[in-house]
Symmetry: C2
Subunit: 220 residues, 2 copies
Amino acid sequence: MNSSSKGKLVVRCFGVSADGFGAGPNQDVNNPMGVDGMALHQWVLPTRTFQKKLFGKDGGTEGPDDDLAKRGFVNIGAWILGRNMFGPARGPWPDDQWKGWWGDEPPYHCDVFVLTHHARPPISMKGGTVFHFVTDGIEAALRRAQEAAGDKDIRLGGGVATIRQYLRAGLVDELHMAISPALLGSGENLLAGTDLVSLGYKCTEHVSTENAMHVVIGKA
Amino acid sequence: MNSSSKGKLVVRCFGVSADGFGAGPNQDVNNPMGVDGMALHQWVLPTRTFQKKLFGKDGGTEGPDDDLAKRGFVNIGAWILGRNMFGPARGPWPDDQWKGWWGDEPPYHCDVFVLTHHARPPISMKGGTVFHFVTDGIEAALRRAQEAAGDKDIRLGGGVATIRQYLRAGLVDELHMAISPALLGSGENLLAGTDLVSLGYKCTEHVSTENAMHVVIGKA
């Protein structure tokens, strides 16, 4: 558990299908979210926050979807990502060419800790993002992220397997799921086999929009 | 599959938690929906339709929640229920005393086919509801319900295990899930292990309210 002087570990804006999947099946370089996985992100793509952060564009929608997208970037001092969220390759790194899905200037602008079984030197990107590769597990990654973040929060970006590990270890302080009115049928189920109530979580906040039902889950 | 001259098999107003459960754990006579399962029905309880149908009261809320509650009773000529939705007892019927959860005048007002492994004579209730006990499986129950319903639809009331059987057999024409911003943690997961996309389903309609996200699933 985090001590109170440290930033919280938060999952924000995590898209889930109506049938419970946080990513589609068969992720590859053309389907970073798995097949049909982009359906989970239709609520956030048009928002003002996302248009600006991801595409550098002005304009976009406002309202609760945008408010929650915006909150996803407030007071974040470091990120943690699973290896599969960083890239499509599995096993040892084939070379040092792959630097994430996000081009030269990723939208993080802080230290990002990537969980992997395969060591690799850190990569400094434009705009202040530094990818660090952590090979000694989820608790070590959290400690390093907390040191980097100071009193700010740490955002756990995903993917599903990584969030599940942190949830089951009781280390997630807050989880915002955006449930989309879409079916994936298969892929990675976020909560299957994880009893959030036994782990001490409850819904602390919710808001529905045309595009999603937003549910925030925190410690009861 | 139903032929086009027959009524559709529909699931309406089926409450599901944000973590995918259609009923809480440990159903008994005091917890017909399982422990905390009533959390799934908070969206429908205050509606005008539910207040009238279940409690005979005037008044109640209007809007999308009520529109969907109302649709649940339109053009329904017969119901199918799983044994556990009819009562808390398991195994052979101890006697003929139990006549459902709904008192002398159940809210069905038509033939209701209860799936069970244990035969029992039909029960005629006030207001036109007749409970029939079907021991030869889900397809036999559907045939009998279709005969009873004529050209009207058949509503599949639940519970979770029964809906899952009909879904996996490809026999459900439409499923309306009302996803509530509540966690159950454990209980009966409606869709775990059922690949709706492979079965040919997709979301055909959705509307969100303060209380639930309504998702209608039908054949693609």
